[in-house]
Subunit: 555 residues, 2 copies
């Protein structure tokens, strides 16, 4: 099959997304990563519109790109002037990129009602601008903005704009669904019609090469791109993680594996596909946007299994509930615990964690029943691996507490409009030793955390490497809705691992205490194991810490 | 065009999603909202698999649904037993729903390799189970699990399973892309082939009615559903917000507006479409999952414009950069970084609430800037009408506090494994009178609530009619991610109104206090107005109490 060219516009159209901004340096780093994975075109920005993008192209000139052609973006010339006099087009030339992309108007509504221009002058603007860029030896990609809306209103005129660009020498004609309102069957019908009609109208022997640029306003960006590809388009535009204005652009982390792994259409080199998840995380971290767990192929949940039936089946045959091998895109299978889970989920997790369920004569069926009961009361173990491991150990009487609580007292005081103050006193025992300490904090849980850390510090000096990185609270209804319980999640990390723990109670401080205590027990058990004082469990809880997590103090 | 039946499985397949859990009460509230908007089928759960779902069906029996048929889900009978003896099928019958949905195997891989069953017995299981449910007067929806994978491997056998279900009386045959690995052109080809071949093989005059159930593992769930609908499917399965296992199910908040507003296929009543955004938010709030800004149609960014060219164009002609009117789905246009948009929003809200922004010489521009500052710090007023009104009154110096805080102190104590105890002391002033009281509670906020209520009770005897019905906590990152703030929402009600208030602080107790104090101030101002002691505001804050809210005490 003919290969498909991947055109990334994360650095240009992606930054139209709400909350998406990159510095010129960040853009350069992302461009290097895109080049690494084998993207063919990288649209770096619109040098005619802002100084940051000019700086990006200055930086990019000094780099060697292996595969990617760096592309500068802009619009057709302004009405009534020469292309060579248009500052926007000259900024593209000054960017010194091998490829230039310019957009022009396809829709009479825009030409006439918005721009107050004539249809003829618009065609001349397209032709002149393309011809000017070609005269400066640029490869030219012509973006037909609002092509589908334009074609629905005035198919002949929309086609004329493409012919103007083609005849002036454009190398690619890209059909843009700028407003994102077009559906796959419409993209298919229009793309097919365009190719047929273009091939009869242009006749100099050059092939017409179509591209497709879609937005996700109807949730169809990726499907629309496929529709055009199935009709013969050879270039697809998109962004990493689908970042972009409104609902975003077509997500290349979806399109690339669909093309490579599902449709057998070559795009990036096959061996690079396994870098896709890491690229997705790199871009979301750089944009400082929480990665979407449910993102196809590359999301944290993309290969996560919760239902018991599903888990027992994948243990026999992974394709029973997995449409592909997660490792193809650098992702991995995860088994979640919940009351939808069966015995096989628990056994799978226990094995991962190195907990022997049969130890001390316990039956895993009893354990599953107990978990279901606890989840009914508000526990949720699918996102609390640390507490789950401790609970399995407690059930099977393998748990060795590394400290015990004697008592604590937390006091929060407020005077008129002054901020609250919080302090905590805690008494713990470690073996036969007792320790009582007090500490302040930004809130009650923070005070309790500080006091516990201080008390434990006398026995376990390694606690400095441990930090709480996330704290989540939610109210869950009780069994019959007459009382509310609070569920607290805490996520903690040290230099090489992240773990999460949970507490449930009617009292938010008690719930927080349980999550906090589990988190410290988990850390101390881990240290003890590394020092050879406890047996070593499986390593599956360990998650790689490739990314820079932003630290946050807790409530 | 023939109407499309909307089948919602948020409460069943949706809860397979990571982090998605609902209590039976929450399920009921969501079901009432789904019914309100005109969903045709609501799959409530799998009564044969867990006690929570049995409880949901018990609760649902007592309610009147206007449009929706409540549906109980389960599997075909186990191999080698009578359908009537299968506990999973009898649990469906005991759920007492008009409609039953059962899934069966379509793929020889599952029948043989996973279940260690024969192909013949699998067909008998399907036929017997459907016939059993039909004999108990249920409408039967047959979910052909892994249909597309099965059809690709063994088209004849996959078709045989459908014929078995149809001949036994199934009312709908639903083609499921369980693993989510199928692409739109494949769904189209297979659906078309199935309909042609089925119509030649079944001949008792009953029409074959197809449904489609898709998952988003390739980012194609919605597009796949459309492909099947374009081939003649008359029922579409999905979930609100696309919640579901791995990458989720087809998102009904996408499919419904695409069908109604883009394809002119009737599904829910046209006048209900504007409730879609609110439904989406309700479900995400109940699941306590941050709503996805980029979600098509209903996301906060779905109609947000950032680029300067786009903004000036939509001011001339909104369809220049909007594929539809945002109000159709209850959403609204947002212009980012423009204080014009903010100003008109605030003025609109103030008018609704009867607050005169110009009073005391204040300029609404200053107020807008202050609100933007607060929202930047973590406040979110779109879901806290009560606090928003108080804040507008404070800004314009129209706020008349009905009590003032002098001080409070909250103490939480825990001894070893005993439950925590919480008590609060509070001192307030009402005019020249001071009052100091103390109270216990199930947690610190509950203790504070009880103490404040006791203190106010001496001045305002009508407070008994006011109850706190919901309490939500979310951690919000600070401006630069180095410090965490906590946002607390409290929802309160009395006999005729629900109002919500908000507090933000690094200290969870302080944040709770602000939300609590606003809630009481709101209630007392309302009482004072009704007694003629304060002017009457607009009534827009008042919300209908259609739903049975479960009372719950707070953390």
């Amino acid at each position: 099959m003919e290969p498909i060219l991947i055109y990334d516009t994360t650095l240009r159209d992606g930054t139209q997304g709400e909350n998406v901004t990159f510095t010129a340096d960040e853009k350069l780093k992302i461009a290097m990563r895109l080049d690494d994975i084998g993207i063919h075109y990288i649209e770096g920005g619109w040098p005619g519109s802002n100084p940051r993008d000019i700086r990006f192209f200055d930086l990019a000139k000094r780099e060697q790109f292996k595969t990617a052609r760096i592309t500068a973006f802009g619009s057709t010339r302004k009405p009534g002037i020469e292309a060579a006099d248009d500052p926007n087009l000259t900024a593209i030339i000054q960017s010194d990129t091998p490829t230039a992309a310019i957009f022009g108007k396809s829709w009479p509504l825009h030409v006439q009602a918005i721009m107050d221009n004539t249809l003829e002058e618009n065609l001349a603007m397209i032709a002149d601008s393309v011809a000017f860029l070609k005269s400066r030896d640029r490869e030219v990609i012509y973006d037909a903005e609002h092509f589908f809306d334009g074609f629905k209103d005035s198919p002949d005129y929309a086609l004329d704009t493409l012919v103007a660009a083609f005849d002036a020498g454009a190398d690619f004609l890209v059909l843009c669904d700028t407003n994102g309102g077009t559906l796959p069957h419409e993209v298919e019908g229009i793309s097919r019609s365009v190719l047929e009609r273009l091939n009869t109208r242009v006749g100099d022997g050059r092939p017409v090469k179509l591209g497709i640029h879609t937005h996700n306003d109807c949730g169809m960006a990726a499907a629309n791109a496929l529709s055009a590809i199935n009709c013969g388009a050879v270039m697809v535009h998109g962004t990493i993680n689908g970042y972009g204005e409104r609902c975003g652009n077509a997500d290349l982390t979806t399109i690339i594996p669909v093309l490579s792994a599902k449709m057998n259409r070559p795009c990036i080199p096959g061996e690079k596909l396994s870098g896709l998840k890491s690229l997705s995380r790199y871009v979301s971290e750089t944009a400082n946007i929480v990665p979407l767990n449910a993102r196809p192929f590359v999301g944290h949940s993309a290969f996560a299994h919760k239902g018991g039936i599903h888990v027992s089946a994948i243990m026999k045959e992974s394709r029973a509930y997995e449409h592909m091998n997660p490792e193809t895109v650098g992702n991995q299978r995860r088994v979640l615990m919940s009351d939808l889970a069966g015995k096989s989920n628990v056994e799978y997790k226990a094995r991962e964690m190195g907990v022997d369920l049969g130890a001390n004569g316990f039956d895993s069926k009893t354990i599953v029943a107990a978990i279901k009961q606890m989840e009914d009361e508000g526990y949720q173990f699918d996102v609390a691996d640390g507490s789950f491991q401790i609970m399995l150990e407690k059930f099977t009487e393998q748990f060795k507490p590394l400290f015990d609580l004697e008592s604590f007292r937390v006091t929060i005081e407020k005077d008129k409009d002054l901020p609250c103050s919080a302090h905590a006193t805690i008494k713990i025992s470690v073996g036969d030793n007792h320790e009582i300490t007090a500490a302040e904090g930004l809130g009650p849980v923070s005070a309790l955390d500080n006091a516990l850390r201080k008390a434990l510090g006398n026995f376990y000096p390694d606690l400095d490497s441990m930090q709480l990185v996330d704290f989540k609270v939610r109210v869950v209804d009780g069994r019959d809705g007459t009382e509310a319980k609070v569920r607290v999640f805490i996520e903690s990390r040290d230099q090489d691992q992240i773990w999460s723990t949970i507490g449930v109670s009617e009292d938010i401080i008690e719930a927080s205490w349980h999550a906090l205590a589990d988190s410290f027990q988990f850390k101390l058990a881990k240290e003890a194991r590394q020092a050879g004082k406890l047996p070593k469990p499986g390593s599956a809880v360990a998650r790689n810490l490739k990314l820079g997590w932003s630290m946050s103090c807790i409530a």
